[in-house]
């Protein structure tokens, strides 16, 4: 039973790893810089493993999610700043995901984009209202495994494996112009943000409470965070690597959300295309639901309201109204006509600015013996946690200048 639970948790993490921002930025990074940014994906994945494991451990031991304990630890004023900043970043991200799903549905059916955005949002609302939490998490996560067609596509195009592996070693390509160096820095920051999105830890920690995790689940937590995210990142690296081989030489950036699906269509034909589009649909849909629920969790936990999908919607009314309102607000943003790729860029920049505020309370709580008792951060977790936190600070400080100087990577 626990093996099944573990396997499902890992598969869900794999299927749910990629969202619209990763789809866009992995493809663009591969096209522009070949395999040279793979090491950034690897390092960011280790970072999300570290913080993901911490957030699951905090939820299992303190029995309170991060936002609950964060207000007590940081105080009302700073807690409110974190809440507002992360709420806005998650809202933009949710809008980007809904826009991405609408585009995928349009590519599959030919139906109008705005209509598909509305249809997608109604589908998400119905899913969250009707399905129990475990089904919500697992259905989209497991169906997101259609994305594995990209891993198969990578194998099928016979990449230079040695060069690909070389990309996993930290380096900056030699001979880059000043402009390209800035763009390299921008994509590095964007990939860190896309892999370590704050909504992932909020959702993971609240999900652990929804699933009633306790000390006996710490093993599952650790394995899910490590193995699930590692395998998920292989999927993301596949997108980058295929783009390096297929799009880079053709001068493709790519600028259209549907272009990554060509990565599976070229080796496998229409079957590959349809599997890729299905995978994109479920993976991005899962991300839309996660970002929305992450906002509802954060708001309700901050004000101490009832929350969670482990109870019927009418038993946690303010929580239900919150996630309905977040979906509605995200849909309105999409209906204004802002391009999903543009929204994904805003989401990535907004999120990296918020990351230091997001992860500081988690680090402090996970190391606090008053809440965590014998399960507080040990030497390894402390070293890795604070090390990655320093990296996040550097990325957050560099994000906005790099975005402006490179026109969002366009130069």
């Amino acid at each position: 039973m626990r093996i099944t639970e573990l396997a499902l948790g890992i598969l869900t993490a794999v299927g749910g790893f990629v969202d619209v921002s990763e789809l866009v930025f992995m493809s663009q990074a591969g096209s522009r810089f070949g395999y040279a940014l793979i090491w950034v994906v690897v390092i960011s994945t280790i970072g999300i493993m570290v913080f993901g494991e911490m957030s699951g451990r905090v939820a299992a031991i303190a029995k309170q999610p991060v936002f609950n304990l964060m207000r007590h630890r940081l105080g009302l004023k700073l807690g409110l700043i974190v809440l507002i900043a992360s709420f806005l970043a998650n809202l933009i991200t949710c809008a980007a995901e809904i826009g991405g799903v609408a585009l995928v549905l349009r590519l599959m059916t030919g139906a109008p984009y705005r209509l598909m955005a509305l249809v997608a949002t109604l589908l998400f609302i119905a899913s969250v209202w009707v399905l129990p939490f475990k089904w919500i998490e697992r259905s989209y996560g497991l169906l997101g495994l259609f994305m594995l067609v990209f891993v198969a596509a990578l194998v099928a195009i016979h990449p230079p494996w040695a060069a690909l592996a070389g990309g996993a070693l930290p380096h900056v390509p030699a001979g880059l112009s000043h402009r390209d160096l800035l763009a390299f820095g921008y994509f590095a920051v964007a990939l860190i943000s896309a892999v370590m999105f704050p909504y992932e830890t909020y959702f993971y920690s609240s999900g652990a409470i929804e699933d009633k995790w306790g000390p006996k689940d710490l093993g599952i937590n650790r394995l899910t965070a490590i193995v699930g995210f590692a395998l998920g990142s292989l999927l993301a690296i596949s997108l980058l690597a295929i783009s390096a081989q297929m799009f880079g030489p053709a001068g493709i950036s790519p600028d259209l959300v549907g272009t990554p699906a060509l990565q599976a269509a070229v080796p496998f034909g229409t079957i590959g295309l349809l599997l890729a589009l299905l995978g994109m649909f479920f993976a991005i849909s899962g991300a839309a639901i996660e970002t929305c629920l992450a906002n509802a969790y954060s708001l309700c936990q901050f004000f101490g309201w009832r929350w969670g999908r482990h109870q019927p919607p009418r038993n946690a009314p303010r929580f239900t109204l919150t996630w309905l309102a977040v979906f509605a607000a995200a849909l309105v943003i999409v209906l204004t006509g802002v391009e999903p790729i543009q929204l994904a860029e805003y989401a990535v920049v907004a999120s990296i600015l918020v990351l230091p505020l997001t992860y500081l309370p988690l680090l402090l709580l996970a190391g606090d013996r008053h809440f965590m008792q014998a399960y507080a951060n040990g030497a390894l977790a402390k070293t890795l946690g604070w090390g990655f936190y320093a990296l996040i600070i550097v990325a957050a400080v560099a994000a906005l200048p790099l975005y402006l100087l490179t026109s969002g990577g366009a130069l």
Binding site: Q64, L69, G304, P313, R314, P317, T320
Partner: protein, 118 residues
């Protein structure tokens, strides 16, 4: 920590989650009401829950915004209603008996009575 144990700082109590006798979340300790005269015994009179409780802790320009968005409602939970304090404040009675469920009741009126799968 039990209420008859040592509570050394109001900060230990403020911003803790409140759960009622049934374990349902019903607010956060937004502030604490004290009673007593200078030079005499100062004791906790009640927990303050709601925007009327936390708005005072924010800068002046924020208070008007909070009042506009959330109102200035505040529920006073008498200190005798507190059963225990650990990482949460546990109450002796249900939220409804203490007036802590009004927000949820108001929100529920907006929701349709459509069931969900268990």
């Amino acid at each position: 920590m039990k209420p008859d144990g040592r509570l050394t700082l109001i900060a230990q109590l403020r911003d803790l989650q409140i759960v009622d006798a049934e374990g349902m979340h019903c607010g956060i300790v937004d502030d604490v009401a004290l009673a007593g005269k200078p030079g005499g015994v100062l004791r906790i009179e009640a927990l303050l829950v709601g925007p009327g409780g936390y708005a005072k802790r924010l800068p002046g320009w924020c208070r008007a915004l909070v009042r506009l968005v959330a109102g200035n409602g505040c529920v006073k939970v008498p200190w005798r209603e507190v059963e225990s304090i650990t990482s949460v404040v546990k109450l002796r009675h249900e939220a409804a008996a203490l007036g802590l469920d009004r927000g949820e009741a108001r929100a529920r009126r907006w929701l349709p009575a459509i069931g969900a799968l268990k």
